[in-house]
Symmetry: C2
Subunit: 339 residues, 2 copies
């Protein structure tokens, strides 16, 4: 998708330097900073510090980090996979990607030939995510088209939580892929963007990428979405996922469950968009997924310059995800079967 009219993806391989480049998302929306991953440790840090984030994107980043790591030759692929999987416990895409990479090496020793096969597989995984996101977009486009027809030309109002756009994947996005395809095909869409406390991925990233691509959007606090649904101002909820368990439960950014409840209570369709790498058939239900507990400073400080939002010493609990039970999900957009 576009930034200032120029096409970007969230991460890419540069054959000229044999290096991996990515957008540092902690600097957005204020600065567009492109970083180079030159060591395996860079890759670990990029994921852990959330310079790259979004379930599909951290999977692709992990795969590319393993290529860099194989070139370095300091650790075995199996050791790298363990380190990568430990950076973010909730999203299953990390484990999916490291597993895919491990499958191509068996017990083979590090070598130039192995590095080349690692690069090829990592780039395939990246392409697969892009293709899958585009297919998710087409699935969702048919949903949006139907609503647009029913509304006779009025904009279709879509609510989204967190950032499940192209910055969270590689291109297109999951939840936002249908939005981009609808917009590009001339269907009037408008997105209500949950700010998504505590890290404000909605306020910082979703507004940014939508506006840069020309899609009308309005920022709201996370508390407001229920009222908007009560007032009939939301036609469709589209969110991404960090993990979808065997029974269809959706583990996604904390607060998603509250929007699913409101959607159900107001008969607003609630769709979850995610590529196959997000589906975890090995885990029975959402309750079996570890929920990442994050730093209290994410809650207390909203930027590097501001003061704490609460009195000094206030205890904070900061879980990163919640569980949307399958019964609240109208449908899944996985880029395979049409919705």
């Amino acid at each position: 998708m576009n930034i200032q009219g120029r096409h970007f993806t969230a991460i890419w391989y540069d054959p000229k330097t044999d290096g991996v480049r990515y957008i540092d998302q902690t600097k957005l929306p204020w600065e567009l900073v492109i970083r180079e991953m030159t060591t395996f440790a860079d890759g670990i840090r990029a994921i852990r510090d959330m310079e790259v984030r979004g379930a599909p994107l951290i999977g692709v980043t992990a795969a590319l980090a393993m290529y860099i790591g194989v070139k370095e030759g300091e650790q075995s692929p199996a050791e790298m996979a363990v380190l990568l999987n430990a950076t973010r416990p909730t999203a299953v895409n990390l484990a999916y990607a490291t597993d895919q990479m491990l499958r191509i090496c068996g017990t083979e020793k590090l070598s130039a030939g192995l590095a080349s096969r690692f690069l090829q597989r990592a780039l395939e995984l990246r392409e697969e995510e892009i293709t899958r996101c585009r297919m998710i977009g087409e699935q969702g486009l048919s949903l949006i088209s139907e609503i647009a027809e029913r509304k006779g030309g009025e904009p279709v109002n879509i609510l989204t939580h967190c950032n499940a756009g192209w910055l969270a994947t590689v291109d297109y996005g999951t939840a936002l892929a249908p939005v981009y395809l609808a917009h590009d095909s001339g269907i009037p869409v408008h997105v209500w963007v949950d700010e998504t406390r505590p890290r404000n991925q909605g306020a910082k990233l979703t507004t940014y990428e939508l506006t840069q691509h020309g899609v009308p959007n309005t920022l709201i606090v996370d508390n407001a979405g229920g009222l908007l649904m009560q007032q009939g101002k939301v036609d469709l909820v589209l969110v991404g996922a960090d993990r979808i368990t065997a029974n269809g439960d959706v583990v996604n950014k904390v607060g998603t469950y509250l929007k699913a409840l409101a959607a159900s209570d107001n008969q607003v369709p609630f769709y979850v968009a995610a590529p196959p790498s997000t589906f975890d058939q090995q885990t029975a239900t959402g309750r079996d997924v570890p929920i990442e507990e994050r730093s209290k400073n994410e809650v207390l400080f909203t930027d590097d310059h501001g003061s704490s939002i609460a009195p000094e010493g206030t205890p904070v609990h900061n879980p990163g995800f919640d569980i949307t039970p399958a019964r609240l999900v109208t449908g899944y957009l996985d880029g395979t079967i049409l919705a």
Copy 2:
């Protein structure tokens, strides 16, 4: 309730100076600033700029402002009531208080005698709110005691949204009155405090007043409460109200509805605490209540020093309240009938 071991109320009359003093809540939790309301315009400003906030407190503030206004003698009580009612459209307590004041003057001209009767009535309304909050506390105490008994000495976990404590009333609070009475009587309680975006009344005021009074509490983002209920970490939800309509719908700080949905979905009792001045028998349902739209800067800037949380020019929608349908309310604590 206490600040640094000393008893405070949110607003009081000082007979020595014949003046009205109140805590400027926009300065909390960083500074305890006591202001004097010396003109009617001061009273209007205090309510509009949310130096005083909370439905019961703005009612009492309006009554005292009318006393100050009658002393000034520049506007009729009816004119003052119109100006006061327009400052905050959603809470009904304002209209209740100005109506109570107007009833005692009829068409009488401004005079010293009238001023004295205005003072007396305003102080009565203040005392009524305190008494009623204490009774709400006793109603809720029996609820908390029952849960405490069932938990055999484990702390009772109470989730609250926004600030419905003594800072929102005059003393005790509405939702927090039962918490204070339970704590003071030795029942172990712990409060999950929703930060309550965009103005963060939970993070700034609820954590402050609970901690100052010695009640254990933990700050969470508004998104987290659903997960906590899914995990069985919430025994009871207690919130206040800005208006309760004839059918029992509760208009309260935006986001309340989402917590009511989660409580209902997880069989957590959801109680609304409010004095009679908050009950509006003249309005049929929550959908008939005007929802205040507030400044976009409340969303974009979290303090005076920080930068905007979103790209420049991002459109913002900032409704202040939402509607919790009566069907989601387990019970009302109004300080009359025992729960």
